[in-house]
Assembly symmetry: C2
Homo-oligomer: 288 residues x 2
């Protein structure tokens, strides 16, 4: 069987981002941490860490790290462990879910000591991090499971093309002329955000000429309200702005539905199963 | 004088993230783009690009890129240019400003064709990107200007330690006992976010035991409302939640003030000066 003390040393270096911090977290000297990792590498006949700053896992190290996380969570299910480091759940999610319906799903009263490390990634990066064993689950728009993984559909997030009434007036967008639409500044979240391109292609067969990059869901909405540009926003996140008339549809009746999926490992620990049920329940209430 | 056609080729490779996309953006063949960059490097006797994926600028390339952006913005001030690529303003800001008061400051009616590329970085990274010429301005909590840069104070962002009433009851936090406070799960934005640590040190001289990492200002607030944890939140961003009683103070009367500064280049183009005035005006209205 694997010597888990050695694996824990490796995991601590990766999770703490260095040998010194790992030693502190484990209450060991730095040289003891190094020794354990050398011993692990000798047993396996291959390196598990790349000695960069911060240290990174080799492909083998990633597989072992993922394995250790699964073991930790199986142990957490036994409710024997009092070590909070065993209860970290790393997930990667899309920004719009984190800003709206997802946080409520993370409150699991049966596991009060759980700690979440949530990262926001675009879909390709998120699934790669799952394959590499860095995260235990991935919430994204891809329906294709990773090797050894499974996937459950959560529903769709509905996006509407919105702008402030002043903005619509300033750029003469109420008539729906495509030339005006193309001249109007457009908000995009990042280079990977193609929702606005999809909207313009759908309604006018054109591409946006002027884009602002704002990498924040909420900042995006504040910018649209201020009249910096128009953009596709989750209906879920702009209800107050729609009610107060701060944002209105560019093309009434138009919307874009983005499906969301929860990616998880087939060999699922009880805590991850509880989390999955909570996510599915919250999604069914919030999404279409 | 520098041959700006060559500089533009270099800038396009950096901004588009590759030779092929740069060629498309400039309406040139890929080999013409490569040739121009080689010619630039021959003239200077040094490389300007590192041929990685995506290509990166050498130190010299960074200085030239920064210079080109200054020239573009000076040209934009002449209002002769019709090329939207000349009007991109890259700035880096803190997440909480982007989610609250900053977007309104980006609407500059005198420059309707400007395009913003906003990135969210922690302070150290933001200032480094400014030094490297990747951004024209940086909004952060550091008062120390970079070499050749200037700095203007914007006011302070006030943070309060907040949680949902249910959370306060569940973890018995109303009596203010430090043991209870230490056991209660704490939300942090990222490893660099020390506001919660500061709060616990101030009120009880302790460190948080259980932290959740949620890298989104708005997700942070949604998580606090759902009862996942407590955390330090900008007063500016939680007015509705405070009014509706969804969030309440952990320690009434306690707040933490974080000063914010606008970093800009001493040699400032007219458009950057206009932006600076707009940012200062918006900050004076929103901040303390």
């Amino acid at each position: 069987m694997i010597d888990y003390r050695l694996l824990q040393a490796m995991a601590a270096v990766l999770e703490q981002g260095g040998f010194e911090k790992a030693a502190q977290a484990l209450n060991l000297t730095q040289s003891a941490v190094s020794q354990r990792i050398k011993q692990l590498e000798q047993q396996l006949g291959q390196p598990v860490l790349i000695r960069s700053l911060p240290p990174r896992a080799t492909a083998l190290g990633q597989r072992l790290h993922n394995h250790l996380q699964q073991v930790r969570q199986l142990e957490a299910g036994l409710e024997l462990s009092a070590n909070p480091d065993d209860l970290i759940i790393r997930i990667t999610v899309n920004a719009d879910s984190l800003d709206t319906w997802l946080p409520a799903a993370l409150v699991l009263n049966t596991y009060p000591l759980l700690r979440f490390e949530v990262s926001v990634e675009d879909q390709a990066v998120g699934l790669r991090r799952m394959k590499q064993g860095e995260v235990m689950a991935c919430l994204c728009a891809s329906a294709d499971p990773v090797n050894g993984g499974a996937v459950i559909p959560l529903g769709v997030m509905r996006y509407r093309a919105l702008a402030s009434p002043e903005f619509i007036q300033r750029y003469q967008l109420s008539a729906g002329e495509s030339a005006h639409l193309q001249q109007a500044p457009c908000l995009v979240y990042s280079r990977d955000d193609r929702l606005q391109h999809q909207f313009l292609a759908d309604v006018a067969g054109i591409e946006p000429l002027y884009t602002h990059h704002l990498p924040s869901s909420e900042g995006f909405i504040r910018a649209a309200c201020a009249g910096l540009g128009y953009g596709m926003m989750p209906e879920l996140q702009v209800r107050p702005e729609l009610e107060q008339g701060l944002l209105v549809d560019l093309v009434p009746g138009y919307s874009l539905d983005v499906p969301l999926y929860w990616h998880y490992w087939q060999m699922e620990s009880p805590v991850m199963e509880t989390l999955r049920h909570s996510v599915v329940t919250a999604a069914r209430q919030a999404l279409y």
